[in-house]
Symmetry: C2
Subunit: 337 residues, 2 copies
């Protein structure tokens, strides 16, 4: 795909944490054509350290997120290096001085893009995986009259305590490397980034994935090659401040912090009237399916469709054909409702 | 309990890795009295960074490991700071120069203690949890005519690929701290040890444990207190070289590396004729119960009795009364066979 990254200027953007971020930018990509009624819209927020490129596997003519029929907007999450991020923001909010960002901040900025830039009257679907799922729930909660459907995948409406603790692992591994230097590193904290990758490797994929050597299907001959050439290599491409900014957004993610809900997650979930199909990975260790099942029980129009198989948190990243087909069918089913 | 740590001198001890460790020492503790036939014996090897003190909760008059009836020997695993370890071995094998140790090395040393020191004719039970479980299987495989029963808990006969990858996380987090200095640190690598603790915290206990705030039952008010006062504090008490030595033993653990089995785990498990009750933690994330179920299916006299509940790998450490009672009953059942 030949997507062009565009930028929506948010101006001075008031964040939940109290900071007004000057000249804030929301990067985005679109696919397909907006119809005259401006109501054939799918919003597809990005996930942790991801961009539009990571979700394009679901988007295209005739694909589940069908750009022949829908106008698809992929807004880039703050901190991903394309929207305002530690790595691209000038002083005094550069690097580790970049302010804390919430899921609500992201969705509020996206709502401005959708309404101010495009004048959209109806969103047929907000779909998102992992951290994108937080944003899908938040869209459903904050803009119930705009959002017809949501499809959270391998995610949650609130970070669980266990998920928070899991994330303390990679975060602490990175910060154990003094080369990080409080964010003012002169060269990347290589040892810390590699360690972070090795910590993450056990979490993202299931015990069964490793038992059955499924990394071979990803092109890696053995565990060590997978660790070095996938896990370490991936994180070495990331900016440490950017990834820590998004990690903070993740560790504080909670749709019930939205004004009017006072931390009452049951109440917040109950207020999401959008039709929903929820797609946990059957073996996801940091967003376990039982958490999403509990959420579904609190929501008036939600159905649980766990993605079977051993791909854990990677059930929705577009690698495994069986996962892709299952999730694609869930999306088609939801759009047909 | 007022256990006294004693030492069995192994002399120059030939290790699987090819090194002869000079003046090797096997520390141990005993409980109860050896009978005249020298056959009322239970061997209870220690687990990762553990000592006899950690397993004493199961041992005592009238306890499942009944020291009124049995002579209980707790041999300390190499690298735990009491038996030969990086922290107590002189040059040239001090610190990170301490040689690699296998599960087979440990059990071979323990067999010498049991036979040479005590002249034991029959072992009624070898019980061990986590890394102690590797040793229980190995006892059953290597000394079938001596060992009547084995009780591996929250462990495996071979480290799984996933378990190996999990362990790469804490290992890498520690090594990301340059204060480790290749093992020749002048003061402990505090940042690395703390990071290791935070990495481990998400693995040892289940999602449900955190969901239900069970750390409160362990005396910690909230997640951060649990992370600082349990997880970081625990690892700050450990010697970094010792814990890395035992981690290497763990990451290479495989009973099928025993002479005559050539890596054939099915064959090795099939050769364990001891009566066995196998006790995985129902929610153990690094020794998942399905792996132990597969092992049971390869063994002629084994039964699976998963420890129910949300305590994950901590199902056998003596914290939760329900887990303790369940496991205690399994031990009594096995000893009655």
């Amino acid at each position: 795909m030949t997507a062009t990254v565009q930028t929506f200027e948010l101006g001075d953007f008031a964040l939940d944490g109290g900071v007004r971020l000057p000249a804030a930018k929301l990067a985005y990509v679109t696919y397909g054509t907006l119809n005259a009624a401006r109501d054939n819209v799918i919003v597809f927020p990005t996930w942790y350290v991801g961009t539009h490129a990571d979700v394009e596997w679901l988007i295209g003519d005739g694909k589940p997120v069908d750009s022949a029929r829908y106008f698809v907007i992929v807004p880039q999450m703050f901190g991903n290096g394309l929207s305002s991020s530690p790595s691209n923001t000038p002083a005094p909010y550069d690097r580790a001085r970049f302010p804390a960002i919430t899921i609500q901040d992201n969705v509020r900025a996206q709502h401005r893009l959708v309404t101010e830039k495009f004048g959209i009257t109806r969103i047929q679907l907000v779909i998102g995986g992992s951290m994108g799922a937080f944003q899908a729930y938040q869209w459903g909660l904050a803009y119930p009259d705009l959002v017809e459907r949501i499809a959270p995948c391998c995610g949650a409406a609130r970070v669980s305590r266990h998920c928070y603790v899991f994330l303390e692992g990679p975060r602490s591994a990175l910060l154990a490397d003094p080369a990080y230097a409080g964010g003012d590193y002169t060269s990347p904290p290589v040892a810390g980034l590699k360690a972070l990758g090795r910590v993450w490797a056990g979490w993202a994929l299931s015990q069964e994935f490793y038992r059955d050597e499924l990394y071979k299907r990803m092109g890696f001959d053995d565990v060590e090659s997978f660790l070095v050439n996938f896990w370490e290599a991936f994180w070495l491409r990331c900016d440490a401040n950017d990834l820590l900014s998004q990690l903070n957004t993740w560790q504080t993610a909670d749709i019930s912090k939205t004004h009017g809900y006072d931390g009452d997650l049951k109440k917040a979930l109950g207020a999401i009237k959008a039709k929903a199909i929820m797609s946990p990975g059957a073996k996801d260790m940091y967003f376990p399916p039982e958490d999403m099942a509990w959420e579904v029980a609190q929501m008036p129009n939600a159905e649980l469709r766990p993605i079977p198989g051993p791909w854990g948190h990677f059930s929705e990243v577009g690698i495994d054909p069986a996962c892709n087909e299952f999730l694609g069918n869930s999306v088609r089913m939801l759009l047909a409702r």
